[in-house]
């Protein structure tokens, strides 16, 4: 017997039954989970900002998308970074300043700054939902020290379940990676002392649009 069949057989033997019939299997496939969600009574945008900031993330608000490049430029100047970034193709329509060097490719080891559009924001925990793809490559989320994320307030949902609904609605299906990001990278592995910038970005800055 091949390992797959052996394991499934072992499972069924343990459960003291044979294979489930089609009716039962269809019923399981049609099952709709109903789990308790932690109550929220806050404005989702305010909650998102509060929670994200509580984890050393930073947030600024701009009126519209057109203001994003200037905000990013101001950010990089504050940190004395060069005018260079890996930018998700989902933001290529923006008018970047002429002196800027932009590319939409994967982030290389020398990359210092990336700018990505978020697919959604989750107010429950103050988290960003990033979907892998040319619009926001995964390496942009993890390689550079500084990660700037553009999030439209209209994309902020209350719960994880709402975010999954957004994923399911995508015509292209699930992305290779869905990253739920709740702040800069951190570790407490040395004497339980929290240190930011373990492997992922040291700083995550959200530009909230709208």
């Amino acid at each position: 017997m091949n390992p797959r069949d052996a394991i499934l057989q072992s499972v069924r033997t343990a459960l003291k039954r044979g294979e489930l019939d089609e009716t039962r299997r269809s019923a399981l496939d049609a099952r709709v989970p109903q789990h308790t969600r932690p109550a929220q009574d806050e404005d989702p945008v305010a909650r998102f900002v509060r929670k994200f900031e509580s984890r050393a993330g930073t947030v600024e608000r701009v009126a519209d998308r057109a203001a994003v490049p200037a905000a990013v430029d101001a950010y990089r100047r504050r940190l004395d970074l060069p005018a260079r970034a890996a930018v998700g193709a989902g933001l290529k329509d923006l008018a970047w300043p002429a002196d800027w060097q932009i590319h939409h490719d994967r982030a290389g080891i020398e990359e210092l700054l990336s700018v990505s559009p978020a697919l959604a924001g989750i107010a429950e925990t103050g988290s960003l939902m990033m979907a892998a793809g040319p619009d926001s490559p995964t390496t942009h989320n993890f390689v550079p020290d500084d990660h700037v994320v553009v999030l439209e307030t209209a994309r902020i949902v209350e719960y994880f379940e709402d975010a999954w609904a957004v994923l399911r609605a995508r015509p292209q299906g699930m992305p290779r990676a869905t990253n739920i990001i709740s702040g800069p990278s951190r570790t407490a592995d040395v004497e339980q002392t929290i240190q930011l910038g373990a492997h992922g970005p040291r700083r995550v800055h959200v530009i909230l649009v709208g």
Partner: protein, 468 residues
């Protein structure tokens, strides 16, 4: 990892006298316990979630074959491959084959307890590959050539000084002494490995049948760099980790970080679904999932089934006073603390891990914090029952139990013996206590024995009241 659970007693004693370990355990213990308590206080629905999580796990286990098949279908539909491994050896061979096929030289690893369970690293190294643990705690113990001492914080037993020593020796360069510098150095060294890796191996907190995804949670982002930059992504996971849908995974996610580290959420929750798509500019070209049985389907059949609910949060060991006294290494294998004391005998043998279920007061604190309500003390007692039935317990103990049963089921004899004992002990006592008692050194080495009152209660009662 060589199992050294037979050395539990000796290692426990040393651990108690190891000052730097005690210092590290004290810090960690209070951190995890206190932070979890705060999270629980802030979430009114916490108990409700625990009950739902237990029920959901039971539902999954009742239909494990169905969900595993659905999961496999979805992985394949997303362009991935699923491999099934009956035991550790089979799992190692599968992973070795994949790595050798792609001529892997460097393999990076996110944290995966299953990969330790199957002794993966040694097998890859034996075949000439460089294996790099990227979780900072795992990296530290890899440098130290030690096993993890905690399933969430593997280097919890190490002090900052010890980490400085390890890094200085492994990386060269000037010795770093402060935490930010140490973490920076690790970041720099590991970044290079990520970009050179041919294969990235991660674990799977959850496997989602709906989408064919594996879910990992980290604070560091190491699992993400591991899987995204390598050409091949391999997920190693126990078969019991499958959940029906993303919404179901969410229920567990709401409990996991709170229970493990006392955070509302870990920094990164990553849902990986298949290899890179045609239009992706990054991501692995191959996505493999190795489903590991290694005794789990057998566990499903018996009185230890509830152990399969475990989501590997570590809350049990954080709250266990025995773990708190001796740390993780005393347990001698991959899984320490209460959950390790159930799993190790079941996977490796009741004899090899004899002490683990017995070095427990059955105080129940573990069960009270388990997010999926595993009745750990009951399971530990069941293991003792099996050990008793298989006569693995010391002969002295079995004789003692026989004698106790003999007397206790014969009240007149029992009371007569008790009356003698009480009089003898009272005679030996000075100022109400006995400082030294032959054959009772295990008690009197560390404690005085409070003296009895010269008569038993039942004797005195008879005297006072005439009859019951």
């Amino acid at each position: 990892m060589e199992i050294r659970s037979k050395e539990f007693k000796e290692r426990a004693v040393f651990a108690i006298h190891d000052a730097s370990l005690q210092q590290a355990l004290g810090k960690a213990g209070y951190g995890f316990v206190g932070k979890r308590a705060l999270q629980v206080a802030e979430l009114p629905e916490f108990e409700q979630l625990r009950e739902e999580a237990k029920n959901l796990k039971d539902h999954i286990l009742d239909h494990l074959d169905h969900y595993l098949e659905r999961y496999e279908q979805a992985v394949v539909a997303a362009g991935g491959r699923v491999h099934w491994a009956r035991d550790a050896e089979e799992a190692r061979r599968i992973i070795l084959d994949i790595c050798q096929r792609v001529n892997a030289k460097t393999v990076t690893k996110g944290k995966s307890m299953v990969s330790e369970e199957i002794d993966l690293n040694e097998a890859l190294i034996e075949h000439g590959m460089e294996v790099v643990e990227t979780d900072l705690g795992e990296y530290i113990i890899q440098l130290a050539h030690e096993p993890p001492s905690h399933i969430i914080a593997p280097a919890v037993h190490k002090t900052k000084d010890q980490v400085s020593d390890l890094f200085e020796k492994a990386h060269g360069g000037p010795r770093k002494t402060e935490v930010p510098e140490l973490v920076d150095e690790a970041r720099r060294v590991l970044r290079d490995k990520y970009f050179r890796a041919d294969v990235g191996i991660t674990g799977g907190n959850f496997l989602v049948a709906e989408t064919g995804s594996s879910v990992i949670v980290t604070n560091e982002g190491n699992g993400d760099l591991t899987q995204t930059l390598a050409r091949v992504h391999i997920v190693t996971s126990g078969i019991e980790r499958v959940v029906p849908t993303l919404d179901d995974a969410t229920l567990f996610l709401r409990l996991l970080a709170r229970s493990a580290t006392g955070q509302e959420t870990e920094t990164y929750t990553t849902i990986s679904t298949g290899p890179r798509r045609a239009d992706d500019v990054d991501g692995p070209e191959e996505y493999h999932v190795v489903l590991v049985d290694n005794g789990r389907s057998k566990m499903l059949a018996g009185r230890f089934r509830d152990m399969l609910r475990c989501i590997r949060c570590g809350a049990c060991m954080n709250h266990c006073p025995v773990y708190g006294a001796v740390g993780g290494h005393a347990y001698g294998w991959v899984y320490p603390g209460p959950m390790g004391s159930v799993l190790t005998p079941l996977i490796k043998g009741l004899d090899v891990a004899y002490d683990l279920p017995n070095a427990c007061t059955l105080n129940g604190r573990c069960q009270s914090v388990c997010p999926v309500k595993i009745p750990l003390p009951e399971l530990l007692r069941e293991l003792r029952h099996l050990q008793h039935q298989q006569q693995l317990s010391p002969a002295l103990q079995r004789r003692g139990l026989k004698a106790w049963r003999y007397f206790a089921t014969r009240p007149k004899l029992y009371h007569a013996a008790e009356q003698v004992a009480v009089r003898v002990l009272s005679a030996l006592a000075r100022n109400g206590r006995i400082r030294r008692l032959p054959l009772a050194g295990a008690w009197t080495d560390a404690r005085d024995l409070p003296a009895p009152a010269g008569r038993t209660f039942l004797e005195l009662w008879q005297g006072k009241r005439g009859q019951p």
